[in-house]
Symmetry: C2
Subunit: 186 residues, 2 copies
Amino acid sequence: MHSLYALRSGFMKSCVLHEDGREQVAGFHMMGDLMGMDAIGSNQHLCDSIALEDSDVCDIPLTDLETLSREIPSLQQHFHRIMSREIAHDYGVMLLLGSMRAEERLAAFLLNLSQRFAARGYSSTEFHLRMTREEIGSYLGLKLETVSRTLSHFQTEGLLAVQNKHLRILKIEALQELVGQHSCRS
Amino acid sequence: MHSLYALRSGFMKSCVLHEDGREQVAGFHMMGDLMGMDAIGSNQHLCDSIALEDSDVCDIPLTDLETLSREIPSLQQHFHRIMSREIAHDYGVMLLLGSMRAEERLAAFLLNLSQRFAARGYSSTEFHLRMTREEIGSYLGLKLETVSRTLSHFQTEGLLAVQNKHLRILKIEALQELVGQHSCRS
DNA sequence: CCTGCAGTTTGACGCAGATCAAATCAGAGG
DNA sequence: CCTCTGATTTGATCTGCGTCAAACTGCAGG
């Protein structure tokens, strides 16, 4: 606590915990992501971060970061930008959870993964899902059966090819269209 | 843009916009809240903030805040704490949208309002809802009819007294229990 | 190679909440 | 006081997704 964590390599999830023991996946993190920004205000992390494959994490003491920020304005700005992006991202997730149907949620999720892999120099159309269907479901506010069914459905429609955890996007435009549409709800 | 906004008095909502024109309420703000923290990273506000009653807003240029932060460590820490709290709050909303049923969502919403009024010196059990049922629904990922029905249901159960937009909480423990329970989903 | 287990797929069924519709209510303006 | 309009309530019906159940797959350990 009172540190931030930079993910240098690997893949992780963060989970929010309920008082009653139930938990929900709040996000997936990959190389370069900064984690733990929820804890600055409360001295206590709301999330557990759990590695989904061998990962390398760098501990950043908050006091060091704040001291350096005062001396290096560009670092300060960068840090603020990162926190802000986290907030903006969360708004996107709220939108997703609050007003999208299962197909749209999954399409948005896959497109987001795709973009993030692309930004890191990996293929944007073919990658490995490191998380289980249940974890995807938890993140998207769906049950694992619904995730599985929706993936199968996308496959029969020819939008993607799924083989266990390996995934290939065949019609990225169709997925984008799905997300843009908002055929119903809210 | 490139300013933050402190709400000095009044009551506002912020809405996230879809590409396709649809919008969702991302949060409600009252006296003392800081708004616009989603825009630091992107140079562009994702949200429109709209006053729900006469409000008084104070513009805080980001560059000023950053300059002052460098000189006054306690201000810097305070700012970081506020951003962090926003992130933590968003995680709470994600939990709510992803894994709670209608009754639990509404109970959580009312309890949150109650706490915030209390923190500002107003009654924690009797207050005016400044937003419409539709806005509540949008925030909670429900339709206005469901919000209305659930409020009615709470009323017949004796948990609260609702008269149009005026609300009185009668059994706060019962509401808290509802939120803690998590009888189903996810 | 066999076994066990966690993860996944698929089907059948039920329900919470969306949708459609209509009646009522409250406040603003004349 | 009356009218108009947007907000709210309430009912009836529909449906997407959750729930329950069963079979299948792939991998790790013996």
